[in-house]
Every structure is written in structure tokens, then in C-alpha cells.
Symmetry: C2
Subunit: 238 residues, 2 copies
DNA sequence: GTTAACTGTTAACGGTGTTAACTCTAGAGA
DNA sequence: TCTCTAGAGTTAACACCGTTAACAGTTAAC
């Protein structure tokens, strides 16, 4: 059952297609990665690509999945290489790693996080390759937060403070969050929403009117977020 | 110099075009508002629209500007009608108003805040009608925050806490923020980034994996943000 | 060695934004 | 009032896009 010569060639061509698509993405943005442009890039006629992807959208989905996996791998390697047993420090590492990746690859980041909104509630959109890769990506942060919690449970708002409605919703995710209580899930969610929102605003240029370089602001915010998680708050160095 | 009959007809057609464009926007999303679709909507041929807009992009810019102004007017009216002299309460009102508008008009919100990213630094992109309207919109929040500050200055982080780099950048905006100190501008910026990020994530469906209805979470976050601004924190009712 | 599957081609369809050239009508100036 | 110009609309066409159908050549399988 070894891969035949044709199989290897097919895999190579498939990789070439995605490489060309990414090249177009970084050089000209999301709109530049068209079916015909990709075909032109590797000297093929446009219909030839339909032997590899059933549609333009499928090609984009494959590219999205690849980029998510690349980002996920980069962040996991970042966390692995750091031998620091302090899991809290790894949260800073991960947050900074995500920001660095986003700033180094703005076009890719824009494709992953800027063009979402497929539909509010479509039927078979859960099993899109891009969505699944996004879940794998999110799981990295979730896993680390859960580890931090189980290593040293951080102080969290009480159920009275959160209110019954929010507690009910958060408790429903307790299983996914390895048994964390609603208050801890709430803080984890804050960590993600603030981190995500901040990076999106910076990369998408929504902060330029106030800050020409959002680096210092990001550090300050990360410090605040860490405080909210009860971490020992290492002073973030440049 | 009264407007002639032709001038009035021209203005009417222009309004019809934008109305049709918006109709297509709400029914089919940003991608549905095409030049030909708009022309089809009012029984015209596509090139006729070039008597009113130099390009498809210009039509979208005009629509964006109109929507920004509509949103701005709605929020200003909201703040005006509230006779509450407590300016802090108006910040809650404005935040909730923005969220309500976003949830009530997801397609419009998507056009305004989801498709940004023209270029990092384009030359003449500062004077695009959409950008200018966005500045008018942002000024509403800025003005209210400045009023709150001048009515009752809220406690803010010291310059030592923020660090010299961040202080330098924030102080550069002190004039725009009616003479507020760096620490107060920092908190105002937090108010905006957290509010903006939260609403974007909710409207764009980036919170569905955790919360099916983000209303309670939004309230809790708004409470936190208000606390950070030193407001007297009125319990947000549904 | 024949056959079937795979990879690529060309031609074409309907869709898009956009331009050029033309017609017709309404408003302005003599 | 008559003329003439400017404006609003048309048709035809161009270049691009994603996509499909029908066809040719090569490669693997039986």
C-alpha cells in the first residue's frame, strides 16, 4: 500500500497549489487569491484546479485549515520549549506568541480571523475544515488555562456576582473546561475575549488613531488580564 | 439659487440608489450589494449608476458614511433623551445602545466594522467618506468620556505603572482628549477596546462556541469596565 | 496488452465592474 | 421663443471571475 508515483505527484501538486495560494494571499490580500490567479501562478489552466479542489471556497478552506494548524503548531512549540514550570508564564508566552504571529503574518491573520461570519447558524458549517482547525487552535488555549487552574486554582467571582443566567450558560461548558467552576470559566473567557479583541484591533488598524505602536499598550493590557486571572504577574519585558 | 427640478430628481434618485443598496445589504450581506444588483433593483441599467457614483467602491463608501451617521445620530439621541445628569450612566447607555444597534442591524454592522482593513497606510485613505464618518462616530464616545472625566475625575493608573513608552504615546493624544492625563486616556482606551472587541465577537459569531446568548456576559463585562473607570456602577438591568 | 482511471486541455456559460459611443430630454441663454 | 448645451439614460463591448462539459494523453491496474 505504498504511495504510487502518481500519488506522490498529486500530493506535490496539491502542496504547490496551496503554496501559490498563500503567496498570493501575503502579497495581495484575501481578494488576490483567486482560482485563475492560482492557476496562472503555476502555469495551469483554471479548470485543472478542480481535480484538486471542488470549488474556490474549498481551496480557501484548505488554506485556512493549513494556516490554523501552522499557527497552532508554532504556539505549541513555543510553550513546549519553555521549560518554565510556571504555567502562568506560559499564558503570557502564548498571548505574545499569538500577537507576534499576527503581526508577522497580517494577511494570513486576516484570512483566519477577519473574514469569518459564514452564517449565524448554517447546517453543515460545523464540519468545515477551517472550523475544525479553529477548534484545534482554541483547544491549545483552553488546555493551558485548564492546566493553570488545576495546578493552582485562581480566585474567581462568585456565582452571586455573575448572576444565575450567566452561571447557567458557563456551567454548561464546565465539562469542556475540565470541570472548572463557572467563575473560573468566566475569567478564562475574559482572557480570550480581551486578548482576541486587542490583537484584532491592532492588526486590522483599528488602533492607529490612538496609538502608532500598540506594543506597550498590549503589554499593559496583558498585565491587567493576568492580574484578573490571579497570576503572579511577571513584569513583561520587551 | 434654489434647487432646480432636475437637482431634486437627482437627489431623489441618489437616495433611491442608497436605499436599494441598503435593502440588498440587509437581505443578502455585503456581497449582495453589487452594482448590477442595485441597478436591477430600481429598473436601471448598470452604467446609469455611474452618473451618481464614480465606482462601486464609492457607492459602498457612501453607504458606509450614511450608516455611520445614522448610528451616530441614534446614539446621540439616546444620550440626549436621558435626562440623567449622571454622565457615568450615559456611558452604559451608549455601550448598550451600540450593542443593541449592532444586534438589530448585523449586516450594517458587518459592513461598518467587519470589512475594514483598507491598507495599513494608504495615502489618501484618511479622507474617504467612510473614514470621516467613523471619526464623527468615535467622537461621540470620546466627548462623553471627556465630559465624565471633567465632571468627576476618576482614579487612574500612575505614569510609573504605565511605563514611559505608553505614557509618551498617550500624552500625544491629550489635546484630542480635552487635556486628560495619560492614565485617564488609558482607561478611556480600555473602555473602547473592550466594548468594541466584545460587540464584534458577539455579532460576528465568535462567541457562539461558549455562549449561545452573550447578553448576560456583556452586562457583566460592562460592569467590570465601568468599575475600571471608577463609575458608581449602577446594576445593569436587563 | 487492454482497459479504466487520472490529469490536463479547450470552449463555453453566466456573472461581475467598467468604459465608450450614442440617444433623448430638460434647462439655460440669446 | 428658438437654439444649444449639459445631463440622464441607453446599448454594446471589454476584461475579469468561478464553474461546467466535452475531449485528449498518460499512467496505473487487471
Amino acid at each position: 500500500m505504498e504511495p504510487s508515483r502518481r500519488d506522490r505527484q498529486r500530493a506535490a501538486t496539491l502542496a504547490e497549489i496551496k503554496a501559490a495560494a498563500r503567496r498570493l494571499l501575503v502579497s495581495g490580500g484575501v481578494g488576490a487569491v483567486g482560482l485563475r490567479a492560482v492557476a496562472r501562478e503555476l502555469g495551469l489552466t483554471p479548470p485543472a484546479l478542480y481535480r484538486y479542489f471542488p470549488s474556490h471556497e474549498a481551496l480557501l478552506q484548505a488554506l485556512i485549515a493549513d494556516l490554523y494548524d501552522e499557527l497552532t503548531a508554532a504556539l505549541m512549540e513555543l510553550a513546549q520549549n519553555e521549560a518554565d514550570p510556571d504555567l502562568g508564564a506560559q499564558l503570557y508566552l502564548l498571548a505574545n506568541g499569538l500577537r507576534d504571529w499576527a503581526l508577522a503574518h497580517p494577511a494570513e491573520f486576516g484570512l483566519l480571523f477577519g473574514t469569518a461570519i459564514p452564517d449565524p447558524d448554517a447546517e453543515g458549517h460545523e464540519d468545515l475544515p477551517g472550523h475544525q482547525a479553529a477548534m484545534r487552535f482554541a483547544a491549545v488555549f483552553k488546555a493551558l488555562v485548564a492546566q493553570v487552574w488545576h495546578q493552582k486554582p485562581f480566585p474567581h467571582p462568585s456565582e452571586q456576582e455573575l448572576g444565575p443566567v450567566l452561571v447557567a450558560q458557563l456551567s454548561r461548558k464546565s465539562e469542556y473546561f475540565d470541570g472548572m467552576p463557572a467563575g473560573a470559566i468566566y475569567l478564562s473567557l475574559n482572557y480570550w475575549t480581551r486578548l482576541y479583541g486587542l490583537i484584532c484591533m491592532e492588526v486590522f488598524g483599528q488602533l492607529h488613531w490612538a496609538l502608532e505602536d500598540a506594543g506597550a499598550y498590549f503589554e499593559a493590557q496583558l498585565f491587567e488580564i493576568g492580574q484578573a486571572l490571579g497570576l503572579d504577574c511577571p513584569v513583561p519585558e520587551a
